[in-house]
């Protein structure tokens, strides 16, 4: 009996000594997990930890837009039987994806979703309802361009605060710049015509006088090769800025931006 106890004690000492020899000091340190003396490794420090979740910023200055994915009729009310107010194409005359400003959404009695959009059509200010599935995903912007025709200035607001201001050239009395609420449809660059400066934005506004102008008489916001004429009533309806100003605007103003001309 005494011999058996001795063997057990010797085996126990041996196993403890063996464990000590086999211990890898490069591994994380062990710590007691409980009063029973069991040892567990320290937890691994995560490579990253997400920061504090933040609620969404206010929606006060948010404008939605969407691409047109299929040619579709815009209607007076959200139903297929309603009269047509215009047609939406998938591409613009400039070869860019056609986008529309999103104003409102509604679910019809049959459960189909409809979206009220602003059309780039005459008369300016035309709006209509299109089925949701004719549009692509929604884009959002927090920018708004306000053009003051009397003051001949343009201001860009982001979240309601002015971040850019410049003198502009506007339409003459014979070819006035249309007033109302519009949006930026596209951006053109690297073209050859010096008349438009280095950059041009297409808007949804259309000249109410030059209705037979090529590509539909859309009003642009662009640079110029005659900066000495700015500010002034000098254009066929477009809004002209100095080349430095249009390049700065190009950096700040995304497609979909709401444009108010007053």
């Amino acid at each position: 009996m005494r011999g058996t106890v001795l063997v057990i004690v010797l085996l126990a000492i041996g196993s403890v000594a063996g464990a000590a020899v086999a211990f890898d000091f490069d591994k994380p340190p062990l710590r007691p997990a409980s009063r029973s003396g069991a040892l567990l490794p320290e937890p691994v420090e995560p490579a990253f930890t997400p920061g504090r979740p933040r609620p969404l910023a206010n929606r006060g200055f948010l404008f939605h837009w969407a691409s047109v994915r299929q040619r579709v009729s815009a209607r007076t009310i959200p139903t297929e039987d309603a009269p047509t107010v215009g047609y939406l194409q998938t591409m613009t005359p400039e070869g860019t994806t056609n986008v529309v400003s999103v104003l409102k959404r509604d679910t019809a009695s049959d459960g189909d979703l409809w979206v009220k959009v602003r059309l780039a059509a005459l008369p300016n200010g035309t709006t209509g309802w299109v089925p949701r599935d004719a549009l692509g995903g929604y884009g959002t912007v927090r920018t708004q361009l306000i053009v003051d025709l009397d003051g001949m200035t343009a201001r860009l607001l982001r979240n309601g605060r002015t971040i850019f201001k410049a003198d502009v050239g506007v339409g003459t009395s014979a070819y006035p710049t249309p007033t109302g609420t519009f949006y930026i449809r596209n951006k053109l660059r690297r073209y050859s015509s010096p008349f438009y400066g280095p950059l041009a934005f297409g808007t949804s506004a259309r000249s109410e006088v030059l209705t037979d102008w090529p590509a539909g008489g859309f009003v642009g916001i662009h640079g110029t090769n005659q900066p000495e004429l700015i500010p002034g009533p000098i254009s066929h309806g477009c809004i002209r800025l100095s080349n430095a100003d249009i390049l700065e605007l190009g950096r700040l103003m995304p497609v979909g931006t709401s444009v108010t001309i007053k």
Binding site: P43, V44, E45, P46, A47, F48, T49, P50, G51, R52, P53, R54, P55, L56, R59, L62, H64, S67, P93, E94, G95, T96, T97, V99, R105, T107, G111, D112, L113, R132, D133, G136, G137, Y138, T140, Y175, N186, K187, L188, R189, R190, Y191, S192, S193, F195, Y196, A200, G202, W213, A215, G217, F218, V219, G220, H222, S235, H236, G237, C238, V255
Partner: protein, 228 residues
């Protein structure tokens, strides 16, 4: 080749219901029969062939990021469109909480990846964010899918501290899934254990929803023809 159908991953039919609401019944019927094709999120990554075959930690994290973009945009859009405002107080709390979590996930993964981070793809939720019913149903499917994605890759990451970080996401996403299921009235825990899914399997499910939009062309280089 493993052929995955929508039913295999859409246990409660939540995703199918949401797609049906968004795209119409014929679309849903088509999806329920068709084999799901993929390539959308993996396409977004646009990784060099060598990097993708290595499936290194960064490429795994980038796939996570693409998926977190999807989730964050989904919840954010529902909030921005006012869909969340039309929900009950309990549902709105859930939606806003999950949205803030997903945005925090995007932010941290982007900062870890730095310049290697993929860009946010364009999304088209096709109406799934626009009614409380379709939104909550889609959220259930999306959160379940996230859990399957994360557990499917946890053991493939080599860096131990990244594995540790990933587990902090897995547990949170699992709680999201449980909360979403409760909101929708489903059994909070679908099964005794969650099925891991590969990138390709997750990608096929996402492809079936058409949530990844094609890239828009909003800049052109031709001569302007504006009125001048």
């Amino acid at each position: 080749m493993f052929d995955l159908t929508l039913e295999q991953v859409d246990q409660d039919g939540a995703l199918l219901d949401a797609v049906e609401g968004a795209f119409g019944r014929s679309r849903a019927e088509f999806l329920s029969k068709a084999l799901v094709t993929g390539g959308v999120l993996l396409g977004v990554l646009a990784l060099p062939r060598r990097a993708r075959s290595q499936e290194d930690d960064m490429s795994i994290l980038n796939f996570d990021l693409a998926f977190e973009y999807l989730q964050a945009t989904f919840y954010t859009e529902a909030e921005q469109l006012g869909t969340v405002d039309a929900m009950t107080a309990e549902q709105a709390l859930w939606a806003r909480t999950l949205g803030s979590h997903e945005r925090a996930h995007v932010k941290i993964i982007k900062s870890v990846l730095g310049k290697a981070a993929v860009k946010r793809p364009a999304f088209n939720f096709g109406g799934a964010t626009e009614t409380p019913e379709s939104f909550t149903k889609t959220a259930v499917a999306m959160e379940d899918l996230t859990v399957s994605l994360l557990i499917g890759q946890a053991n493939r990451i080599k860096s131990l501290d990244l594995v540790a970080a990933l587990f902090t996401l897995i547990t949170t996403e699992a709680r999201h899934a449980t909360w979403a299921r409760r909101i929708e009235g489903f059994t909070p825990i679908g099964k005794a254990f969650d099925d891991p899914m590969t990138f390709a399997q997750v990608d096929k499910v996402i492809a079936s929803t058409n949530f990844i939009d094609s890239k828009l062309k909003t800049v052109a280089e031709g001569d302007p023809r504006f009125t001048g």
